[in-house]
Symmetry: C2
Subunit: 317 residues, 2 copies
């Protein structure tokens, strides 16, 4: 049994950045990273797990930083050829990335669990930290839009987040099982910090909380739960969080995200540019700090990770 | 209905070369190429049809000539990455080639028949000739060896044809259906030539003949059936035909191949270097001619195709 001190819940890009910072700030056996898998989908017979892959590629230093997804130095021969054949090319699959999906799909077909396959891939990539899918069972985010319900990747990639969002549901969540390693981690006497990475509250963090047992376990622990705001200066750093908030009738602010999490988290971290929201957030009954949260480089990631960990430790005193 | 004048039965490399020659020698709507699909296999969740693909790539001018399989100018990023992950890399899949398999597998999963998918791919590659899998049903060559039975690609690629061959069977052949277009072609009043390309008699031509109805149809037609020897000067131009003949206790000669086909074909074509075998082959009751059959370039392919067609026409007079 690992001595898990820190559990981080993460979606893709922004979450992966903080996950990398945490991985550098902590001994490997102390960190458990839990990834949203409700964006996962089957495409061309491949089982694709965008958030797991973004975190994996980020942790091993292979993520494509400019495009925010996929592998650095990727090639596109397969997709070019598929496109020539008239095959579906709307989801951009790089040649190296396809190997990830082929490997995973094959292992799942052989009966391996997603968490096992993820462990195998982390080992192959030299990642010492434990990265865990939120569940080994399939959960699928369905986006309710003005044009009807859309599977997440249809909304996100094919439709480029254009349809107006009215809500979400997480198909399969009710019957999905929380992973035993996550339960063990949350029950661990060594646990000192639970962190919600700066990920989309609606489609990255919410699906994880929708799995029976996870939210209940979080409510029952005495460890501080700290969420890092994905909104900086009224904008999402990456992704559709701001557009979603606007369409859901919410102000695009860290305060609105804090209100969303208020019943569950101990504390909320906003970016230094939003320090004027700290007082309002504290009025919600949450601890709150402002600090630099924008992660442009690896130093930023490590610094934010250290600050978040230190803040959790302060809160637990 | 196309006015099929020529039907060519083909395996991979050598057969594909003659198929290309025939494609250049005949109006597109006169040629029907029937491909062996008993080498097909499922690998990494991809349905791979080596002979169909070699023929397709050859007909559209994209075949990798030096390696004899796959696509010219291929890249290998996916397989490199798969190899790093510890995935199976014994079957060499290039990035562009993977697109072929992804497209085909997806279309089959959607319910398309292999012959439909093949037509779609030929159209995408600008191939005007009809290329037909021997059947839309699955047939699998099983190689009987001194080490037991091996699926064809395990024998051929993974084991590099090392195990000693004792025989073959074609799993699924009994219940596979001859394609209606092949039956229509063989019944066509325009048919003037049936050609067995210089392909492996045991694992390329034999599986096609094992499909109920094909051999019977061939026996019932009055069109000349001409086989081109895959053996030149006591060696196979490419592939394991010679090694197989030796292990099966056969002499490695065109005469031995002619004996193998004697009950079915009208005539046999040997390479000019084997002209000393012509008399013996004629003694079997077969028509026989020697001509240059080695195809090193496109001119060779066209010349051989024209000679074979002309010979068939002579025989039908």
């Amino acid at each position: 049994m690992k001595k898990i001190s820190t559990i981080a819940f993460s979606g893709g890009v922004g979450g992966a950045k903080l996950a990398l910072g945490l991985a550098r700030a902590l001994p490997p056996d102390e960190l458990l990273i839990v990834a949203n898998t409700a964006d996962d989908f089957d495409h061309l017979g491949l089982h694709i797990c965008p958030d797991l892959d973004t975190i994996t590629y980020t942790l091993c230093g292979r993520a494509n930083r400019s495009q925010g997804w996929g592998v650095e130095g990727e090639t596109w021969s397969c997709l070019d050829a598929l496109s020539e054949l008239g095959g579906p090319d709307w989801f951009r699959l790089g040649d190296r990335d396809i190997a990830t999906h082929l490997y995973r799909t094959q292992r799942l077909r052989e009966g391996a669990r997603l968490s096992e396959v993820t462990a195998e891939m982390c080992a192959a990539f030299g990642i010492a930290q434990r990265l865990l899918p939120m569940s080994d069972d399939s959960v699928s985010t369905i986006v309710h839009t003005a044009e009807g319900e859309l599977p997440f990747q249809d909304y996100f990639v094919r439709r480029r987040c254009e349809p107006r969002v009215t809500g979400f549901h997480f198909a399969g969540a009710d019957s999905a099982a929380m992973h035993p390693e996550l339960r063990a981690g949350l029950d661990s006497p060594h646990l000192r910090a639970v962190i919600f990475c700066p990920s989309n509250p609606f489609v990255s963090i919410a699906p994880m909380l929708a799995i029976p047992g996870i939210e209940e376990a979080l409510r029952s622990i005495h460890t501080p739960i700290v969420a890092v705001s994905p909104i900086i200066g009224g904008k999402a750093v990456k992704g559709p969080a701001a557009k979603m908030m606007s369409e859901l009738g919410l102000p695009i602010s860290s305060l609105a995200v804090a209100k969303h999490y208020r019943d569950l988290v101990t504390a909320f971290i906003v970016d230094e540019t939003d320090s004027d929201e700290v007082a309002c957030i504290r009025e919600l009954g949450l601890a709150c700090e402002a600090m630099p949260t924008l992660m442009n480089n690896d130093d930023d990631k490590l610094r934010l990770a250290r600050s978040v960990i230190a803040y959790c430790h302060e809160l637990s005193r």
